[in-house]
């Protein structure tokens, strides 16, 4: 779908496929955004709602990377693109995982007495 983004592109040659790629990306993003809202407002159980929103969010990221940022796993730039994705993923895992770690610990010590006792007790 997306062309490998190597070197010079001929504007005449690529304009059509560029527009096509952007249109597909825009439509997909629109659907995924509306889908997330629909899931939030639906009668689904909470667990399903969260799962739906997370899935839509991750798909949205993939769409943005492919169709708007022109990341690609083929072509001369693929190695750099892969490194970029892996590095971003590492940092996001550090940030999101760290937040999860810190906030769940704090929350356990503030509200949930069982969890708090469990943490404070010497092992």
């Amino acid at each position: 779908m997306t062309k490998p983004n190597t070197g010079e592109l001929d504007p005449q040659d690529s304009a059509g496929s560029e527009i096509k790629s952007y249109t597909i990306g825009f439509t997909a993003s629109l659907f995924l955004t509306v889908g997330a809202f629909a899931a939030a407002m639906s009668d689904l159980p909470l667990r399903w709602k969260i799962a739906c929103i997370c899935a839509a969010a991750i798909l949205q990221i993939v769409v943005h990377m492919r169709n708007f940022l022109h990341l690609s796993f083929s072509g001369g730039q693929s190695r750099e693109d892969l490194l970029l994705v892996l590095f971003s993923a590492t940092l996001l895992v550090i940030m999101a995982g760290g937040t999860w770690y810190i906030m769940s610990d704090l929350s356990g010590r503030m509200h949930d007495t069982d969890a708090a006792m469990h943490e404070v007790q010497p092992r």
Binding site: E80, S88, L91, I94, M95, G98, T99, Y101, I102, M103, D105, L106, S107, R109, M110, E119, V120
Partner: protein
């Protein structure tokens, strides 16, 4: 807020200036407030009159404000930072003066120069300004000026985006500045932790000024980071492999990566706080499911990489100057590269040490404490590398070397107090005390400020064609070192004695001797600021004697020293083919470095554009309108930004072509000039004999 919001003027009315406070009650606090506002107004008036009188409006607009040249944008960043630095240092002095008079008694607790609320505004603006509008513009400006020249690039990858970033940063600075005159600034410190900064406890415009200044300038910094990264990845000269890049480029790359990944966290935390304040959300409120601790979490996810964003460019500068002024090759290039990259990545794993005492369990604290101590290792590697670079070198004690020496002595102390604070159980004892204040000033002033001033001194001739006065440069450096020692060493002692930070008053007379010493240090800092200004002025007056048209006053070894000083807008007549690390030094070793290129070609330069100015204007409208709840203006400005971008996107924009003949004429004149100068030896470096053409036989780098 009690009064009605007017549909046209929002919450603005005549009672928001500090003059109203002065009229209501004349005391030292309101006099200081009105005085600061008057300095702002008079300064602005003076600037306008000067520009009109000298007929500088046209040249300012044509040559600077609409220029997309990274070198000029860099200089404008630094000019902005120096203006803000003046305000920041003066505020610091006012705080020292206040605390030296703030000894209260149990009967009369409030005393001192300014009122508690005013003091809180002072430390909030001081921190905000020094981090976001002094340190950041200084380093972004320096990178903008130096990076393309060192990489052998003509310009940044996105010159107009660069202009937009500068505009957004300037808007943030302007919002903070204007809060002196119109309304008040927030009182929550530079971090603006909720719930105190939520609508319940901080109604009014103060926190909003901070929020919009941070949101708008933070956007600019993110864009800058992308620009730097793309420039380094895509615009290097042919042959400039990664491991041939000068170390300043490497640290710039680290900064770019950290800006891209850290700034969004700040934008997110500020946007969430803004939603709390404007749209009745409950992200960080006490009730309705809010959790204010997540603010600290997200904020420091940005905040810790931020301190390494600040320090790494300074490390880059120190790598350049320690090598150049010692006449030696940089020791341990590879280890410095690895250390810089390690710092960039590890800095994302330590943020919790800014809130050890927030209540998480010991295991969490230990994990982040260990990560924090690990980050000291690459920094230590660097210090040893620079010392090894200078070891047995022919060191010239120029102003940058004074800064470097001050950095060695003081930064290590600051780093060690950081290692102490990294231990959570010790942090519990000294957190929120002036020990912490002493620690972070001890890393930021000798690190960032000394590094940036050393860099300005080092590259100044490249920008303006004349050197800065070494004598006054050294005096300034000594004053900054002395001012630092006297101001902040007492704060370590006071912190250990139990003095809380940000405290407008205290009742312990034992603090007073240390307060007086710190206040004396504040006076020295003011002297250093004046001396810095005088350095620029006296050098400007002696610019003929200090001129270095040869362009290589320090016998350097990186590409930027191959061009004339001041550097022409096209930088290189032909993009150089790089064959070695320190390519210019390699040319020197090979014999005649100033060989003219074989042929000259037309050069494409980005055309001047007012795009950045327009975006900045619209963003200022947006920020100011949101602060004062002037909804119509906010909507208008917000819509104007995409409209301006779309308008530019629909136009065909032709680059400006510099004709080959023009380049050839200028370049040939430069080469003749170089040939006509007598080479200056190391001993002549500070004298008039240094015309920017060094004695190549002395080159050993």
């Amino acid at each position: 807020m009690s009064q009605q919001t007017s549909p046209i003027f929002g919450n603005l009315d005549w009672s928001v200036t500090p003059y109203t406070d002065l009229l209501r009650d004349v005391n030292s606090s309101t006099i200081v407030g009105a005085g600061a506002a008057s300095v702002l107004v008079l300064g602005a008036l003076f600037g306008i009159v000067l520009l009109t009188w000298m007929r500088w409006w046209g040249p300012l607009y044509r040559n600077w404000l609409t220029s997309a040249d990274a070198k000029k944008i860099g200089i404008m960043y630094i000019a902005l930072a120096l203006v803000m630095l003046a305000r920041g240092i003066i505020e610091g002095f006012v705080m020292r003066a206040h605390q030296a008079t703030a000894l209260g008694t149990l009967a009369q607790q409030e005393s001192g120069l300014v009122a508690p609320d005013h003091f809180a505004q002072l430390f909030s603006t001081h921190g905000t300004i020094m981090i976001f509008f002094v340190a950041m513009p200084l380093l972004i400006g320096l990178i903008n000026f130096v990076l393309p020249q060192q990489l052998g690039a003509r310009d940044m990858a996105f010159p107009v985006l660069n202009q937009v970033s500068l505009g957004l940063t300037a808007v943030g600075a302007a919002l903070v500045m204007i809060s002196l005159l119109i309304g008040k600034f927030g009182t929550g410190g530079w971090t603006m932790y909720p719930p105190y900064t939520g609508l319940d406890f901080s109604p009014g415009e103060g926190v909003d000024y901070w929020l919009w200044a941070i949101l708008i300038s933070g956007m600019g910094s993110t864009l800058t980071g992308m620009n730097f990264a793309v420039t380094i990845f895509k615009s290097r000269a042919p042959g400039m492999h990664f491991m041939r890049m000068p170390l300043f480029c490497w640290t710039s790359l680290c900064v770019a990566i950290m800006l891209i990944y850290a700034m969004p966290a700040l934008t997110v935390s500020s946007a969430m706080l803004a939603l709390d304040r404007y749209a009745d959300f409950h992200f960080f409120t006490n009730d309705a499911g809010g959790n204010m601790m997540n603010y600290a979490n997200i904020f420091w996810m940005f905040g810790h990489p931020e301190v390494y964003i600040l320090i790494l460019p300074a490390f880059g500068v120190f790598s350049e100057i320690s090598s150049t002024y010692s006449g030696k090759r940089l020791y341990g290039y590879t280890s410095l590269v690895i250390a810089s990259m390690s710092i960039a990545v590890i800095s994302f794993t330590v943020w919790l040490h800014h809130f050890f005492t927030m209540g998480q369990s010991a295991g969490v604290n230990i994990a982040f404490g260990i990560a924090t101590m690990i980050i000291g290792i690459p920094t230590g590697v660097k210090i040893y590398d620079w010392m090894a670079t200078m070891w047995r070198g022919r060191i010239r004690v120029t102003a940058p070397i004074v800064y470097l020496t001050g950095f060695f002595l003081l930064f290590v102390i600051g780093g060690l107090s950081g290692i102490i604070l990294a231990n959570p159980s010790i942090d519990y004892q000294v957190h929120n005390s002036t020990f912490l204040v002493a620690h972070f000033h001890n890393v930021i002033i000798p690190g960032v400020l000394y590094g940036m001033l050393a860099g300005i001194h080092y590259w100044f001739p490249k920008a303006f064609g004349f050197r800065l006065s070494e004598r006054w440069g050294r005096r300034t450096a000594f004053l900054f070192v002395g001012g630092f020692v006297f101001t902040f060493m007492p704060l370590y002692v006071l912190g250990l004695m139990g003095m809380p930070r940000r405290s407008p008053t205290f009742q312990n007379p034992d603090f007073m001797p240390w307060m007086y010493i710190a206040a004396f240090g504040g006076v020295l800092m003011l002297c250093a600021l004046a001396s810095l200004a005088w350095t620029f002025w006296t050098s400007y007056r002696n610019r003929d004697a200090l001129a270095v048209p040869g362009g290589d006053p320090w016998n350097g070894s990186t590409l930027e020293w191959s061009t004339p000083a001041p550097v022409p807008e096209w930088t290189f007549p032909r993009i150089p083919h790089v064959t070695a690390r320190d390519d210019w030094g390699e040319c020197k070793r090979a014999g005649d470095p100033w060989r003219a290129p074989d042929e000259y070609r037309d050069i494409e330069m980005p055309a001047n554009t007012a795009h950045g100015l327009l975006i900045a204007g619209a963003s200022f409208g947006l920020g100011f309108a949101m602060v004062w709840h002037i909804w119509w203006l906010a909507v208008l400005s917000f819509l104007a930004i995409p409209a301006i971008v779309a308008l530019r996107a629909m136009r065909v924009i032709e680059p400006r072509i510099v004709k080959a003949a023009e380049v050839e004429l200028a370049d040939r004149r430069f080469r003749q000039q170089v040939a006509s100068f007598a080479p200056a030896t190391r001993a002549d470096e500070e004298t008039e004999r240094n015309r920017g053409v060094p004695d190549l036989s002395e080159f050993a780098g």
